[in-house]
């Protein structure tokens, strides 16, 4: 292997961090007999690698420019890597979230009996980190596809960590199929590029013809969309996330699906085609994913499944920002373009922060209570103060409320979309739908996360498991506090982060000269001032409250039961009933099936109630693709029924047929 160095020491630091991560991953299985030592070595080495990568990516983002690196593998395939601002932005996110997740895993993976499996988990985790970093650093088709495949496979094995359960195996299979069908679409998109240019480089793609570019974009959007979880290609997500261990769910939902977003960004950048068609596709897909994702999330009974659907929603928001950016470019509005793209990128970072925080909280709940079923939990905030509080912060952030980070990115996307409503035609219609869609998503997310915090962390425990929960494990609490702190920090002081996102879109080749940044800095400054004003008011009210309660008698008593004196925890409003009325509004897209025997007679028998919200994508995909394909293959079964002679005949036949072509 020979390598050529293009620029400075920095690139080496990037590869050094990857080597360190690989080392950590390899050491883990070697030490698997000493459980705690193994975890310690793995976590420390991997964290060191992540920190190094974080520092490197951060400095590249600040200094700008693009760093190239090339290997010639076996002297035949050239692997090129290139880190520009966009890659550096994603790298920062990847290394930061992986770092937090690694610390978390130290106490989360605490079953010493499964020491070997856990050590393998660390190894695969290290592969996932490396491959994600390489995907966003890839500079040509080969490097990209190889890294992409390693990423898909390592995450597949991480999903089936608990392979003993058939449900998890099924989730893994679904994920495997989706990631590979997606990869095939990406491959076909790249094949079109290769066919036209005859080169593996990304840079050459700009010379494609108009029609070919359209086809490439649509294929790659389907491929990357299935990784990102765009409706209707999201159906693997709500199965795979609950199956994976929570620290892996945090990484998968927080950063891995964002590589799909990165792919769409990158394709848009290299194609350099500023047609409104791209923007319209992306924005429409974003609106649909955003609204349906949160509607399905509302209907979920499992905490991790619910969070998985929220990833679909947030990918929708990210795509909305991206679509608005693209429409801004195509209609010649640089400010709208920058607002849309920057909002989208910032939401990538924000979502990775609060979503991994929420998955870590869910993991804590799962570990301490043994269940992630929302309706049997309750009252956890009293026993798990840090988990509960950080989860609350995460909930506020994901609902897009100020003064937390989710608001900042949504705010910028809104500003971009408002720039679009003064235009005409399709851009106007889609921007309008985008704004109303974002407003509805915000309201639904608020409903959904009041449901989660209200039913899981507040009220009275609904089961023995919830009653006896505690929160032991410093290593699990620390990352949650860090992430919650990041949510508040970006929410209160967004300036450096918005500038970071704006720097990230430098590499999109928008064809503009430098865009004046003063306007954006002014926005962040006024947001900080507004939030400060709000905090001042809260402090004032707090002072007033302290004053009003000085030497007052406050007593504790039971909740007012409206005259009923013997309430039980079971009488509390459940998550299902909380969401029922909103879901009935969305009945056409979220059909609900209910199962409960009728109550008969004066002394009715014990009854039960079960409801399930159907995902129409799952339903139709099953009816329209799976069943016909199965039927077709059923008809073709005679081709392969186990006779070895026949198979040899096939081989001969194939060779003879091929002879005609040589």
């Amino acid at each position: 292997m020979n390598s050529t160095r293009a620029k400075g020491m920095n690139m080496d630091l990037f590869f050094l961090s990857l080597v360190l991560i690989l080392l950590g991953g390899t050491l883990a299985p070697i030490f698997n007999r000493r459980f705690t030592l193994m975890k310690l070595i793995a976590v420390i080495t991997l964290c060191a690698g992540c920190l190094l990568g974080l520092v490197d990516a951060g400095s590249k983002l600040i200094h700008g420019g693009s760093y190239r690196y090339a290997f010639a593998y076996l002297n035949a395939l050239s692997l090129e890597f290139q880190i520009d601002a966009l890659s550096a932005f994603f790298l920062t996110t990847i290394f930061f979230i992986c770092f937090c997740s690694l610390i978390y895993s130290f106490h989360y993976l605490n079953n010493a009996e499964k020491a070997f499996r856990i050590s393998v988990n660390y190894m695969l985790f290290s592969l996932l980190m490396i491959s994600m970093a390489l995907v966003v650093a890839a500079g040509n088709i080969i490097a990209f596809l190889v890294s992409w495949e390693i990423m898909s496979l390592s995450s597949f094995f991480l999903v089936i960590y608990n392979y003993a359960s058939s449900e998890n195996r099924q989730a893994g299979r679904l994920y495997f199929i989706f990631s590979h069908v997606g990869a095939m679409f990406i491959l076909s998109a790249f094949a079109i590029i290769y066919q036209h240019t005859g080169k593996f480089g990304f840079i050459d793609a700009a010379s494609l013809s108009h029609g070919a570019k359209l086809l490439v974009f649509i294929f790659s959007f389907i491929g990357f969309g299935s990784k990102a979880g765009v409706f209707p290609l999201h159906i693997w997500l709500p199965h795979a996330h609950p199956a994976a261990p929570s620290h892996i769910s945090a990484v998968m939902s927080g950063v891995m699906i964002k590589t799909g977003i990165y792919g769409i960004f990158r394709m848009y950048a290299i194609l350099e085609l500023h047609t409104p068609v791209f923007g319209s596709i992306v924005l429409s897909a974003g609106i649909v994913s955003g609204i349906l994702g949160v509607v399905y999330a509302l209907g979920q009974h499992d905490l991790k499944r619910l969070l998985a659907y929220h990833s679909v929603e947030n990918i929708g928001i990210i795509l909305m920002g991206m679509g608005i950016g693209m429409l801004g470019v195509s209609s010649g509005k640089p400010v709208m373009a920058v607002l849309g793209f920057a909002g989208s990128l910032l939401h990538v970072l924000n979502h990775s922060i609060f979503k991994s925080l929420l998955f870590m909280g869910a993991g804590m709940v799962l570990q301490k209570t043994g269940t992630s079923s929302i309706d049997v939990l309750g009252g956890l905030l009293k026993k798990m103060r840090i988990t509960g509080t950080t989860f609350l912060i995460g909930s506020l952030a994901i609902a897009g409320l100020p003064p937390f980070n989710g608001f900042i990115s949504e705010f910028i996307i809104y500003l971009g979309a408002f720039k679009g409503v003064v235009l005409t035609g399709m851009t106007f219609v889609l921007s309008l739908l985008g704004i109303v869609g974002l407003a509805v998503i915000g309201g639904l997310a608020l409903a959904c996360f009041t449901k989660v915090t209200g039913v899981v962390f507040q009220g009275e425990p609904r089961s023995r498991a919830a009653e006896n929960a505690d929160e032991k494990g410093v290593a699990m609490l620390v990352p949650m506090v860090i992430l919650a702190g990041a949510c508040v920090m970006i929410g209160v002081y967004p300036e450096p982060f918005i500038l970071m996102a704006i720097r990230g879109i430098d590499s999109l080749n928008l064809g503009y000269a430098v865009i004046p940044l003063e306007g954006f800095v002014a926005i962040t400054g006024s947001l900080t001032r507004a939030v400060t004003a709000f905090f001042a008011v809260v402090l004032g009210i707090f002072a007033l409250r302290v004053f009003l309660y000085r030497d007052k008698i406050t007593t504790r008593s039971s909740t007012w039961g409206c005259g009923f004196t013997r309430p039980t925890a079971k009488m509390q409003y459940t998550g299902s009933s909380y969401a029922a009325s909103i879901l009935s509004f969305f009945k056409p897209v979220a059909p609900l099936s209910e199962h409960h025997p009728r109550i008969k007679g004066i002394f009715p028998e014990e009854t039960h109630y079960f409801s399930h919200v159907h995902d129409i994508a799952e339903r139709y995909m099953k009816n329209l693709t799976v069943i016909p394909v199965m039927a077709l293959f059923d008809k073709l079964r005679w081709i392969q029924y186990g006779d070895i002679h026949l198979y040899i005949g096939y081989i001969l036949l194939a060779i003879i047929v091929l002879l005609f072509f040589i």
Binding site: L401, P402, I435, E460, I523, A530, K552, W560, C562, Y573
Partner: protein, 305 residues
């Protein structure tokens, strides 16, 4: 200095106006009604009392009233009350204000769910549901305003004679917007026909049932918060129905107070002459507001090119 001079009395007068609603309702019922300063007496009484906290509750229960009041107060800082310049204003403050009110709602709901009471859960579910449609309406209205003015601040819509400009450009369709916003006002502030603040059955309430367990100064904060929120929406409606700038702040203030009295009286009249809708009918009523705002936007598309 003027913004502060307007802001403080505005907040102090917020508890006065709801008494108008009570007076109007009493008039329709052939009764004398409570004194006009009733809400001040109520607040004073609440602030003097201690509190009883449910054993089910956590710190969120105490945080809820503070956050919802602070959110409403901060929102008012961005509003040009009586057309005078607001305390703060920045590009996009409309979004900030709406989401801040959302934060207040989040904490009101969270405080309600903290009590483990099924009734409060019921109210919370409704409080989470209806405002979603309201938000869509409000954003629709702001899309229209943005198309008319090219700005995204409350000040640019409602300061001085800016609303007059809105009327001049948009014309009659703005009447749809006023109606739509009035529906939003009724919904967001738990008034008839969406919610009946005077009903006696917990099952049928929205806002009142959510605050059942609050008492003393905490409950006072909640009351004050809802007065401020109603004041916020009513002040916007008042700017839309009386878009003039009379030239002198004092005259503006006088005219503003008069219009506010009329708006609160209108709320009182509606509460007197109609009943609350059945819960499953409410979304249709609120959706009407969205339809109105949408139609207004579509119509003005032709005017504003």
């Amino acid at each position: 200095m003027t913004p502060i001079i307007i802001f403080i009395p505005a907040i102090l007068s917020a508890p006065f106006f709801p008494a108008i609603i009570l007076k109007v309702k009493a008039f329709f019922g052939g009764k004398k009604g409570p004194p006009l300063l009733i809400q001040y007496y109520t607040l004073a009484k609440l602030f003097k009392k201690g509190s009883v906290y449910s054993t089910s509750t956590t710190y969120i229960f105490k945080l809820g009233p503070m956050v919802s009041l602070s959110a409403a107060l901060t929102a008012l800082m961005f509003l040009p009350i009586s057309g005078a310049a607001p305390l703060f204003s920045f590009k996009g403050d409309v979004l900030f204000v709406l989401y801040l009110l959302g934060l207040g709602r989040f904490f009101t709901i969270a405080a309600a769910l903290d009590t483990a009471s099924p009734f409060e859960g019921m109210g919370a579910a409704r409080e989470a549901y209806f405002p979603i449609i309201c938000e869509a309406t409000t954003f629709m209205i702001f899309i229209l305003f943005y198309r008319l003015t090219g700005e995204l601040t409350l000040a640019s819509f409602f300061y001085g004679n800016h609303p007059l400009e809105l009327w001049r450009v948009a014309g009659a369709p703005l009447a749809f917007v006023v109606t739509a916003f009035f529906i939003v006002l009724l919904t967001e502030n738990a008034r008839v026909p969406v919610d009946d603040p005077a009903t006696h059955l917990e099952l049928t309430m929205i806002h009142e049932v959510m605050v059942l367990d609050h008492s003393g100064p905490d409950f006072g904060f909640i009351e004050m918060g809802s007065f401020c929120k109603l004041f916020f929406y009513a002040a916007i409606v008042s700017r839309l129905v009386f878009p003039f700038d009379l030239g002198h702040p004092a005259m503006n203030l006088a005219a503003f107070s008069l219009i506010m009295l009329l708006i609160y009286a209108a709320v009182g009249v509606i509460e007197s002459v109609m009943a609350r809708y059945r819960m499953d009918r409410v979304p249709k009523f609120v959706l009407t507001s969205f339809a109105l705002a949408f139609v207004a936007t579509i119509i003005t598309l032709e005017f504003v090119k």
